[in-house]
Amino acid sequence: MAETPHVDLSGSRDTADRAFNGLVIAAATLVLLILGMIAVTMTQRASSVFGKMGFEFFTSKRWAPPDGQFGGLSFIWGTVYTSAIAIAIAVPVSLSVALFITQIAPRRLKMPLVYVLDLLAVVPSVVFGLWGVLVLAQPIQVVYTHIHNVVGGIPILGSIFGDTPQGRSFMTAGIILAIMITPIITSLAREVIETTPTPEKEAAYALGATRWEMIRGSIIPHSKGGIVGAVMLGLGRAMGETIAAALVIGASVGQISINVFSSGNSMPAVIANEWGEADDMHKSGLIALAVVLFVITIVVNVIASAIVRRSMARSRGART
């Protein structure tokens, strides 16, 4: 007699539990399923170009859709190069801002700063792109020319900051991308830095360290892993950025140059630019670029989150 209500109760709870379980598992699998389906269909649609070009897709820079030639190297180069410029600019800025917010800024200044940075992160990329092409591109050409005139004679630097600077170039794209990824890197770095245990910082001060020595000796070693992860997440965003890059990079096809002032193209930018009028084979070539981009960004993101996770675990361990 006493067992009956018990059974009823567990029965109904069982159904609810099972339904809930099923729902969340379905949602979780759906994400994987969608990712898998994207990968499969993209590879399928890219197969005609991969099949035709083979490995040459990665080694040739000749992109001539009317001739059926699809070499993606110049776009891969453009993506890598602009992302590298973006990282080179964004990382020092982001880390300085993160350190300023966590260590130096008075509390009154801290909140508004964080707020503005978060706001910067949600500005649509097309806004940055349009600002870049309409406002930045023309006057910055003068700056580029000055830089070239100053360092043009020095080997290596002379070819990096090469001649005939263009307003729409790798450099301009790098600057715009840097502005876009700075908030991401800053906010992640800030969170990692804040996990530095107070005793460690106080220990450094107790030993007579200046603020800079404390940052170097306590904060940096503690949060190195997390910062690297933050930078890589920023890198992932920079590589995948489409519209902003498409607007300011200059859209030159086949350009592989270490001259940061020359026009170029990146994988997402060329897809955005050429998709509209592409015929079947051309579309297949563009999808092939998307597959390459897909793989690269997944790899970067997986590495990044692994690093972040490991360093988070370590800092949590250090705290307790």
Partner: protein, 358 residues
Amino acid sequence: MKTWMLVGSLAVTSLVTSCKKSEDGNNAAKIKEGGDKAKEGPVTVNGSGSTFQKPFQEVAIDSFSKDHPNIKVNYGGGGSGKGRQDFSDQVTDYGCSDAPYKDDVEKKTKGGEFLYVPVLLGAITVSYNVDGVDKLQLSAETIAKIFQREIKKWNDPAIAADNPGVKLPATDITVAHRSDGSGTTEQFTKFLDISTNSTAWHLKSGSTVEWAPDTQGGNGNSGVAQIVKSTPGAIGYVDLPDAKASSLKFAAVKNAAGKYIAPSTESAQAAGDGIEVKDNLTFVSVNAKGDASYPITAPSWCMLYVKQTDKTKGEALKAYFKYMVTDGQKLIPSIDFAPLPKSLQDKAIASIDKIQIQ
């Protein structure tokens, strides 16, 4: 349980009533048949395609809808390639394109036989940004050399030869072209290909061609105009309305008769008089005959299926197409395009009359 059933039955009833309503609407439309404008529609027709003729579509739709309040025409733009694709997949009711289908694709359109209706002609300018040079003359050979980066300075002897007496600076040339696939690129390269007999021009003709790496791409006509405007020494091909909107300087181009002609509504119209039209109303309008013809004059068509299965929609489309090639033509000079020559207009009207509404 009961509440669920109630909600369910409510949903069903509302569905049924909404179906009924739309049926009534259809019947009403059927009753309102006939040529009388007040009895047309209500109906919406959708088109997409060429951005080159989009300014015309916009003014034409605006003024057409004043006379035909029950017909709503939407034009989506998106580029000639998209226009052809959407039309052939029957995503849209009509499509517009600066180039006809390729032969093998033409037969695969889902709606069967269709018409090419020429709509307008437009000049593609060779716009430039060189301080102190307000008048520039260029031959096809020189343009070909500039856009293939065989000439890299403005004071090159080839440019000087086209411009006797003009003082040209030693500025570097920056070449601007379309980064997106484009009907404008196709017409511009077709001009270079045809008028130099493919001797000076090696990049062939197409909606995208293999530009040299040290050239710049801009998105859309306005994107190219923006590069030319903001870069000293730049040169690029831009359609006349956009070149004027950005107040660019543009060159007079040597035509088939050996005369240097500046782009304008009149010179594009003159080119229209010198074209040879095929039976399906397609034609090539670059490098046209005639002393006053501007040689880089591009055409644009709209496409419509011959068999129209929806009576209301068919009538609406027919009325709109008729409007485009008759009264609509009067709007064209004000937006810096050229209307069709009279003979071609008549052919277009005759062709629209072939439409069968079932």
